[in-house]
């Protein structure tokens, strides 16, 4: 018999970034006994790396801004594939959630009147992002973390959960291990909130840390939940490209929001050559107009550098392919010639520091070299628009792991607001659901036994595969065949390769013992990551058009028929299936907001 300890709570929140913390705070406020699980130490989740800001139509800088404009920007940025109800709630509730952070101690940069300052970002009509220099995520996670601790929420750190447990149809807990000791643990709960973030470690050049291996996506899939829009993965246009070892580390969109421009090797501001029809009406077509926009938004249109991320990432990709890239295979991001050194250091202190320390580049005098980097899962676990419930009773999802809000492409700044709005909603719904469950959760011991046995197989003698090598092969494959621009043949090759890697993962062998063993942790994480990678590739095969984060060389244009459907991925037995299902119909009064 496997040995494991057991903890029991009303609500279990898995993941302690912005969404998980906000969910736990809400669930606890509703009177539910709430536990929060972190894969790392508390406060180290990827939210800490978010830079630019929280999108919320507070109207502090531009009184013309309101939720309707934010809703419109979000829907158009997502190429209308978004769940309209989520986009509506998100736009309506984000300002309140930001003000709440202030009540809990967050200190955002201020306007001259002493209100929360808001900055420009791609795809947003008005300066809308509440921020703290370029370290907004740190402020947000620290504020939530301290608030959660003071509310007495139970926090379990350095614990990886690998499988949800079910009692009949409903979720009743989760199984995993303590990273420190390698010992097994079972959490029993009446409701579970997934807030596990994304799958960025599937690609070679990524802004994501080791944690983002899609554990929540894989657990939800295994438990019977649906995934949507997995093919619409977001590549952030500006990651570092040099030195090679830091390739992929994020360079905030705030650089462009604060006036930075993209240039190719000839010095040309090439984004003017890549303005798509869909955004022509709202995008400046001359440098003079673009530059006037920063101070006069009424009479000028937005610079093309601030098109949504999918557009900018593809443009950079095309410039590099055409041989007009920078020496290390990116393009130039220039703020040095556009703003004075003092402004740059004040507005973008961590970018200044990051380039100085890691690349010996002074961004106040020298352009940065940047290129696309795997960044964010636009899709994810399908949830209902109101309370973030999945199709599995007792299972909720919020933040990056949940799909719907962002459609085919997320606007910068809409992630931090997503975490707050839907973190809270998921916590609320989970606590209410838990109250409605009278029966104590009962765990199938046979299932726990099987999971425990499976978890230690990488220690079996006879295995030959190195987990680090398998991971690297997956990253190479995804980078080359499931990257920014895709074609049928390469996607099919990726599915085949992922299948081979799954077979080889069964023969993985790790050295040492179970105490804090990163090789073993990776071997287990890879099981989730391979499932997620396959879901992306299979959904990408089925979407035979280009839309948002999903671009097909063999189907380079959007197809209105595909604009009406989500690609839904399900797991039945060992196999993944993909089916097209209609997106929810938008009410007429909201449709009217999309024009203009």
């Amino acid at each position: 018999m496997a040995e494991y300890e057991t903890h029991e709570h009303d609500v279990l929140v898995i993941g302690a970034g912005g969404a998980g913390l906000r969910a736990a705070i809400e669930s606890s406020a509703q009177g539910a006994d709430t536990a929060l699980i972190c894969k790392s130490l508390l406060g180290k989740a990827h939210t800490v790396m978010a830079e630019g800001g929280i999108a919320a139509a507070m109207g502090n800088v531009w009184p013309e801004d309101n939720w309707k404009v934010h809703f419109r920007d979000t829907m158009r940025g997502g190429k209308l594939l978004n769940n309209w109800r989520m986009a509506q709630l998100h736009a309506q509730e984000a300002p309140e959630r930001v003000l709440e952070l202030e009540e809990w101690g967050a200190l955002f940069d201020r306007t001259k009147d002493g209100l929360i300052l808001q900055r420009d970002f791609g795809g947003h009509r008005y300066a809308r992002l509440a921020h703290v220099g370029d370290r907004t995520g740190l402020e947000m996670i620290r504020t939530l973390q301290q608030h959660a601790v003071h509310k007495g929420i139970t926090v379990y750190m350095e614990c990886t959960l690998v499988s949800l447990l079910k009692d009949g149809d409903r979720v009743c807990g989760a199984f995993g291990y303590w990273r420190e000791s390698g010992k097994f643990v079972v959490f029993k709960a009446k409701a579970v909130v997934l807030a596990t973030g994304g799958i960025g470690k599937a690609w070679e050049f990524t802004s994501n840390s080791w944690e983002y291996t899609g554990d929540g996506v894989a657990m939800a899939l295994e438990a019977g939940a649906d995934l949507i829009d997995m093919e619409c993965y977001q590549f952030h246009p500006t990651g570092m490209v040099w030195p090679h070892s830091v390739r992929g580390i994020l360079v905030t969109e705030g650089v462009r929001g604060d006036g930075g421009v993209l240039r190719n090797s000839t010095g040309r501001r090439f984004m003017f050559d890549y303005i798509p029809e869909f955004f022509k009406k709202e995008t400046a077509d001359s440098e003079a107009e673009a530059d006037r926009w920063y101070t006069d938004k009424k009479n000028n249109r937005r610079p093309p550098e601030l098109l949504p991320r999918d557009e900018v990432a593809r443009a950079i990709n095309a410039e590099v392919k055409a041989g007009r890239g920078s020496p290390h295979g990116g393009v130039f991001l220039d703020i040095a010639t556009r703003r004075d050194a003092e402004t740059i250091k004040r507005r973008l202190p961590s970018m200044y520091h990051q380039f100085k320390e890691l690349a010996d580049v002074d961004i106040t005098t020298t352009p940065m070299e940047v290129g696309p980097t795997a960044h964010y899962m636009n899709g994810g676990v399908r949830v209902d628009g109101e309370g973030s419930a999945t199709s599995v009773p007792g299972l909720f999802a919020a933040g990056e792991v949940a799909g719907g809000l962002h459609g085919a492409n997320r606007l910068g700044g809409n992630s931090l607001s997503d975490l707050l709005v839907f973190g809270r909603r998921a916590g609320l719904a989970a606590a209410e659901y838990a109250k409605s469950v009278s029966k104590a959760p009962s765990v199938d011991e046979g299932r726990v036994e099987a999971l425990a046995r499976e978890a230690v197989t990488p220690f079996d003698p006879g295995g030959t595969e190195n987990p680090y090598a398998l991971h690297h092969e997956l990253q190479k494959e995804m980078q080359s065949d499931v990257g920014i621009i895709r074609v049928q043949q390469e996607l099919e090759r990726a599915v085949k390769k992922i299948g081979e890697l799954r077979a080889r993962l069964k023969r993985v062998r790790v050295e040492g013992h179970r105490q804090f063993n990163p090789g073993w942790h990776l071997a287990i994480d890879l099981r989730s990551l391979l499932v997620c990678a396959e879901a992306v590739a299979r959904a990408a095969i089925e979407r035979k058009e280009s839309r948002g984060g999903h671009a097909r060389d063999d189907f380079p244009k959007p197809d209105p028929a595909f604009g009406k459907v989500n690609m839904v991925v399900r797991k039945r037995g060992e196999a993944l299936s993909v089916s097209q299902e209609p997106i929810p119909e938008m009410p007429a009064e909201l449709k009217a907001l999309l024009e203009g």
Binding site: E180, S209, V510, G512, F516, P518
Partner: protein, 253 residues
């Protein structure tokens, strides 16, 4: 051509351990953490090390490199003498769990004891107003990434673990300072700082300031003003209360 670094890494657990030598290839532009990842992938798959962001923003990969406490993700190989062996050891002040991973729960326990932020009433329009110049100082404290390097070098606990029971340490003093100087906060933590958090034990040698990767002036801007507040409160409570009520108490007096 790849160069080879001689790494001397502490391997072991709570029961003991020793420095072990590894030859690891590295290339231009790498940081020390990259070289450890190469080592993990090729020679020591079970080498325990914490990391997350790899960009100096999360504060996970603290260690003692050639005896100097620092973040491994911000330690460029070109800044080290790669002709000589590079020693990498876990932070000394915290109990070792395994290899470079230490038990930093002391810091989280101390954080639980910090009296919470308690804001005053909002303005008539339901909003808080604060001027940028009034929050600059506190924003400096909010830059803390909780790498715990300042706690690690603080000799009050580094050399005397028995002090941990009643000494919050520089990281937490920065947190107390951030709360005490927050323009909206109305809570009072001076008595606690004096009686239970060991503020008086700090004799301002500035070791913490020197290792802070965020360049927070911990001693000058956080600890010394806190010490002044405690003194003020116990010698001139009326003056302190007035400053707290009027919100005029930012920074040193």
């Amino acid at each position: 051509m790849a160069r080879v670094a001689k790494l001397r890494i502490w391997r072991g657990d709570a029961s003991g351990g020793q420095l072990r030598d590894y030859d690891v290839p590295w290339e231009e532009g790498m940081v020390l953490l990259d070289v450890l990842h190469v080592l993990q992938a090729t020679q020591a798959g079970d080498l325990a090390v914490r990391w997350n962001c790899k960009a100096g923003k999360c504060g996970s990969c603290s260690a003692e490199v050639n005896g100097k406490p620092r973040l491994m993700c911000m330690t460029r190989m070109s800044s080290l003498d790669t002709a000589a062996p590079i020693t990498v050891a876990p932070m000394k002040t915290f109990p070792v769990l395994r290899d470079l991973v230490t038990d930093v729960s002391f810091n989280f326990e101390m954080a639980k004891r910090v009296p919470a932020f308690k804001p005053g009433p909002k303005g008539p329009d339901g909003k808080y107003r604060m001027m940028q110049e009034d929050i600059d100082r506190v924003q400096e404290f909010h830059k803390c990434i909780e790498c715990f390097l300042c706690q690690n070098v603080c000799h009050v606990i580094r050399d005397h673990p028995e002090n941990k029971a009643h000494f919050a340490g520089p990281r937490l003093f920065v947190r107390y300072a951030a709360l005490e100087m927050h323009p909206l906060d109305t809570n009072d933590r001076a008595e606690l700082l004096k009686a239970k958090m060991g503020l008086g034990m700090c004799n301002i040698t500035k070791c913490c300031t020197e290792v802070c990767p965020e360049s927070i002036k911990i001693t000058d801007n956080a600890i010394i003003p806190l010490k002044e507040r405690v003194v003020d409160q116990f010698f001139d409570p009326l003056r302190w209360a007035w400053r707290k009520m009027t919100g005029g108490g930012n920074g040193s007096t």
